[in-house]
Symmetry: C2
Subunit: 89 residues, 2 copies
């Protein structure tokens, strides 16, 4: 194991704290398709949603995108949940 000095250790702790803070402040949500009593998780850690044509463009915090033919049914931000309703083709 690599031996770290006191100063380096403090930096490591500080670094971890910053990561913690960053993670805590991330306000992404999970997107679910809801039909009846069923909830299907379709994308985690969603950052952005943009209505595009006949659907929605979802983008997660890593930049991954998903286009889905659906509309927003409910947003519950404090619960980190986005409920979508699928549109028929």
């Amino acid at each position: 194991m690599h031996n770290v000095g006191a100063k380096e250790r403090i930096e490591l702790v500080r670094g971890n704290r910053n990561v913690d803070r960053k993670v805590n402040n991330m306000c992404e949500a999970n997107a679910y398709i809801r039909s009846g009593q069923q909830e299907e998780l379709i994308l985690e850690n969603v950052d952005r949603i943009i209505p595009v044509g006949d659907g929605l463009l979802l983008e997660d915090i890593f930049g991954h995108r998903k286009h889905i033919k659906a509309r927003i049914q409910e947003l519950s931000l404090v619960d980190h949940k986005i409920y979508l309703e699928k549109l028929e083709d």
Copy 2:
């Protein structure tokens, strides 16, 4: 000033920490009406959004509700921003 004992002080500090944590974890967003380059803040600390009829029902974390004839233009959750587009009467 009321004098607090050591045990009580620790509880106070713990209490504050919990409040801090709660505030940090709150993932509400601010809702703006966007038209051209203009952004008008219409509701802060929005928790829930539900499409209702020809508009949106916004509810903040305190339970205050606002109905607005608009549609969602963009959600940017990590930035705590909800952009709406006003619909014509």
